[in-house]
């Protein structure tokens, strides 16, 4: 009857949700038919709201499908959800660790919940602890672990018993590249050693590229499936690398390319060059003009390229009626005119005005030093990236720059104001977008904007003008009366940015703005940032997507509170050993620099404590 060699088999699977407040029905899954063989590593990818989490929750027997058939390990998910739950493990996006319990107590708790006998634990624990590298801190409360370690502990708790199928929902969101690599090593080891089937959803397409099978979901429908090569094939022959003309900042050429949706599908900065996907193979004259005759270098497609091609095609198909998102054929930000491009050329390099000045900044929590003697400066109009592993002191530095945390010692000047004396004065000049959506969820879009406008001293005619302006700029027009908590993810972020830019601050601080966002949303986000920087706003940003560092003029890499590298992306890559013979991408450079520093002096236990 059922094919037992399939880990998952679905036929015409449907699932709807009623959104209470707006009385709308969301079609989370709309006829998904797929098969995942046992013992394979399968990746679910797709933009936000594609139905990845819904599919995983249906598979875990936590939800019931409205229609269609779903068999997990040969068991009917509708009839016997408990039978499935006895044989699988599921790690949701926010895994429920008990923060006050120690690492070992968390493991015990989950072992108790799953009824794992004591003898089995003795055998299982050492292996889990070894795999996750948590053996040295079994007594530490889970709340005191870094983000990466928490995810590893979550995975260990999920694996206290041997499941036949492991479901992981975006396990690497908000996790730094090093921890991300470790998590993947664990997962791959499980697949090869224990013949475990794993279904993993992820926003990192390079991760999906290393899976056996990839399923591309889009608005509840399966857009494509197959081995990574199959997906890549969609972009094969269309991907090129171009070096910007001399003195052209990479991201400006990238933005200019992205603004030509007629001939360009996607463009991202990469190692000082721009990587782009051409819509048709023939040579477009508009493109030649844009590139100022720079030579194109054909390069092999990545999974992300294929994904972008698929998504753009799909969006083009159902574009006409779609009003939710700004149409992709229109630029999300004002096009960069040649004048703007030209004016931006010199900015990052020359000694422009320094809007942030940090000298010997130190922050201690008790006897733990979160930030040790850090110095850097940021110039007007620069995009400045703060990178580092979880718990490296990024967030602490960031909070000190925003005036949310006083420094223990050192000099800190933001927007020409010393933060030690005139914090309120400095706050007038900055905008802040936190990592989590931090506007008032039960207030409407307009109420939120009016409140924050008022808080920044805008009122009357001026407030109304600015409201209109940011709503236009961030495509929020006509959304006035929707409670902001009910907006879809991308909207929330645009609203948060709109609120932070109402008072036209000199500096915009963004804390992991792209965590968990899909590639499309991230392109759109960076296009806006590029435009903002071009108009003179200074941007300070943290991110875990190393390739995004390529958008920055300069970056700083921190670990254990110390600055390990500071400079343009090119300089940082060079520091890691990048050369024309051995090209390193940003992620490799990052891992190299951090590991090199850790190899020299290894205060492991200190490093992982989160500030």
């Amino acid at each position: 009857m059922a094919d037992s060699t399939l880990a998952l088999e679905s036929r015409a699977l449907h699932k709807r949700f009623a959104v209470k407040a707006s009385r709308q029905i969301t079609q989370a899954l709309d006829g998904v038919t797929l098969q995942i063989p046992s013992g394979s590593l399968a990746a679910l990818v797709g933009p936000d709201g594609a139905g990845k989490t819904t599919l995983l929750r249906l598979t875990a027997g936590l939800l019931r499908a409205d229609a269609g058939e779903l068999r997990v390990l040969g068991i009917d998910a509708r009839a016997e959800p408990q039978a499935i739950q006895n044989r699988i493990s599921y790690m949701p996006q926010r895994f429920g660790l008990y923060e006050d319990l120690s690492v070992l107590e968390n493991l015990d708790l989950y072992a108790d919940l799953h009824g794992v006998p004591k003898a089995a634990r003795r055998e299982r624990y050492p292996r889990l602890l070894e795999m996750t590298d948590l053996g040295s801190c079994t007594a530490r409360p889970a709340g005191k672990l870094s983000g990466g370690m928490k995810q590893k502990l979550g995975l260990a708790c999920t694996l206290v018993r041997s499941p036949e199928l492991l479901l992981l929902d975006e396990p690497t969101v908000g996790v730094d590249p090093l921890s991300r690599r470790e998590l993947w090593q664990i997962v791959r080891q499980l697949v090869s050693d224990e013949k475990l089937s794993v279904i993993i959803s992820t926003a990192y397409l390079d991760e999906a590229d290393r899976c056996g099978q990839v399923f591309v979901l889009h608005e509840g429908r399966l857009l494509a499936q197959g081995a990574p090569e199959t997906i890549r094939a969609h972009a094969q022959g269309h991907t090129f690398l171009v070096t910007p003309p001399t003195h052209w900042p990479t991201r400006r050429l990238q933005a200019a390319l992205l603004d030509q949706p007629a001939c360009i599908i996607d463009a991202v900065p990469q190692g000082g060059d721009v990587r782009f996907i051409q819509r048709s193979a023939r040579n477009d004259t508009a493109l030649v003009d844009l590139l100022h005759g720079q030579p194109l270098q054909p390069i092999p497609a990545r999974l992300e390229d294929g994904f972008m091609v698929l998504l753009r095609q799909q969006r083009a198909r159902d574009d006409s009626g779609n009003t939710d998102d700004p149409p992709l054929d229109q630029p999300v930000a004002q096009p960069l005119t040649p004048a703007v491009i030209a004016s931006g050329q010199a900015t990052p390099q020359t000694d422009a005005e320094r809007v942030i000045e940090v000298r010997d900044l130190v922050r201690q929590f008790g006897d733990f030093t979160a930030v040790a003697s850090t110095s850097f400066s940021v110039r007007r109009g620069e995009i400045f990236g703060l990178l580092g592993p979880n718990g490296a002191g990024k967030t602490t530095t960031f909070r000190m720059l925003c005036g949310l945390l006083p420094a223990t010692s050192g000099f800190l000047q933001v927007a020409g104001v010393n933060l030690r004396h005139a914090r309120a004065e400095a706050r007038r000049q900055i905008g802040y977008v936190s990592q989590k959506f931090a506007l008032y969820g039960n207030l409407t879009v307009r109420e939120n904007l009016e409140f924050f406008g008022g808080a920044y001293g805008l009122r009357g005619q001026r407030l109304r003008e600015r409201l209109l302006e940011v709503q236009r700029q961030f495509h929020l027009t006509g959304q006035d009366n929707i409670p902001s908590g009910q907006l879809p993810g991308g909207f929330k972020q645009r609203l948060a940015m709109a609120a932070a830019l109402l008072h036209q601050p000199e500096i915009l601080f963004l804390d992991e703005p792209t965590s968990g966002a899909d590639p499309l949303a991230r392109r759109e986000f960076w296009r806006r940032i590029t435009a903002l920087a071009a108009s003179g706003t200074t941007i300070v940003i943290t991110t875990h997507f190393m390739e995004e560092a390529e958008y920055c003029d300069r970056i700083v890499i921190q670990d254990a509170g110390k600055v390990l590298a500071l400079g343009t992306p090119q300089q940082v890559r060079a520091q890691a050993g990048d050369s024309p013979q051995r090209r390193l991408d940003m992620e490799q450079a990052f891992i190299g620099i951090v590991e090199q520093a850790r190899g020299r002096h290894q205060p492991t236990s200190q490093r992982e404590v989160i500030a």
């Binding site: 925003c402 006083p406 990592q435 931090a438 506007l439 409140f451 008022g454 808080a455 920044y456």
Partner: protein
């Protein structure tokens, strides 16, 4: 200054929107308060011991001395004054030094031996009607025993002594009269405290507090803005209980509304000060909730609502000075039932002002030192 007010205003507006936008929180702020008012109005009963009483003995004969010995020996009465003139009674009851006065008229023994029924007058402060009722019952019991002994000794049939009770301030001895005005303060305090305690804790948990702190809004503005909304909610709730007391239970309002509301405003502000301090102290909503409940119970117990403050051990009596509810209840009861004016209840304002003056700056200090 205009800027300052504008900022307080927009913050205030945001707080009120945040509270009343949500239909469930609207229900929570109105429903329970009505339910509790009715519940307390219908169902409250109390007990007591150690009743302070004043004695006016105009007989000074063997029968009266024996009666007084029985009263003093009963274990529940505590004589605070021995009076000579009838009109001294009023002052003692007014100031609550005595809960009741026992008035033995002249020639008690003479009347009794003559076989007539002599009257013992009992004057009770009935503002706290439960206490008054129980106290009267105790006196009744003592006199019943006295009568029984007298009859056994003298071989008479009729009761030699009869009690004539006069209740002051609340002539019909209705419990409701005493309970409901107290509730005007007590019921609103619970939610005012909770609302305030949660307000910052919620923002901290949801990350919006950081967003607020990076704006140029100064800490005093944030504090004031955060205080005004719950004060308004607290007053609204007090008004609800007041309306129920007045129109449902029909307890007549003796004093002036202006005085009552001035007192309530001071009381709510003091409660909000305590709530903000809790909020500044808590890292998350769960902590804020726990701290609030840990505080509410003792505040209720030490308010004089359940047991008269003067019956408490000295240490607890001392602690009640930090409890705004104690003064609010006293104030509301006196204004509502006795109809006293501003001058009379002014002493109750002082501790409320002191509590406010301590808790608001404390909350500010805690914010500064915990947040940053």
């Amino acid at each position: 200054m205009r800027d300052f007010l504008h900022r307080v205003l927009i913050l205030c507006r945001k707080e009120l929107l945040a509270i009343f936008k949500d239909s469930s929180s609207r229900v929570i702020l109105v429903g329970p308060i009505i339910m509790q008012s009715l519940l307390f109005g219908y169902a409250a009963t109390f007990d007591l011991s150690n009743i302070p009483y004043a004695l006016l003995d105009q007989s000074h004969d063997a029968a009266s001395t024996a009666l007084i010995a029985k009263l003093d020996g009963a274990g529940v009465f505590h004589r605070v004054a021995t009076l000579q003139r009838q009109h001294d009674i009023a002052a003692l009851l007014d100031t609550q030094q005595a809960l009741l006065a026992v008035h033995i008229g002249p020639r008690l023994e003479q009347q009794m031996t003559a076989g007539a029924t002599a009257k013992i007058q009992l004057l009770i402060d009935a503002r706290n009607s439960n206490t008054a009722g129980s106290a009267a019952a105790y006196v009744g019991a003592v006199i019943d025993r006295y009568n029984a002994e007298w009859r056994a000794k003298q071989g008479l049939s009729g009761p030699p002594l009869a009690i004539e009770t006069r209740a002051w301030f609340n002539p019909n001895l209705e419990t409701r009269w005493n309970v409901m005005p107290g509730m005007i303060a007590a019921l609103s305090m619970v939610q005012t405290l909770l609302l305030t305690a949660l307000s910052v804790a919620r923002e901290r948990e949801q990350g919006t507090f950081d967003q607020l702190l990076v704006t140029p809004l100064s800490l005093p503005v944030i504090m004031i803005g955060k205080a005004i909304a719950p004060i308004l909610v607290g007053l609204m709730q007090s008004t609800l209980v007041l309306l129920i007391t007045l129109f449902w239970f029909k307890v007549p309002l003796a004093g002036s509304l202006a005085t009552l509301y001035l007192g309530l405003l001071l009381f709510t502000t003091a409660s909000v000060g305590i709530g903000l301090s809790i909020s500044a102290l808590s890292a998350n909503m769960q902590q804020a909730m726990l701290y609030t409940f840990v505080l509410i119970m003792p505040m209720m117990l030490l308010s004089g609502l359940a047991t008269p403050v003067r019956n408490m051990p000295d240490l607890l009596q001392f602690m009640t000075y930090a409890n705004p509810l104690r003064f609010a209840i006293d104030l509301v009861q006196r204004v509502y039932l006795e109809g006293v004016g501003l001058a009379t209840v002014a002493p109750d304002f002082v501790p409320l002002l002191v509590i406010t003056a301590v808790t608001l700056p404390l909350a500010g200090w805690l914010f500064r030192n915990r947040l940053i």
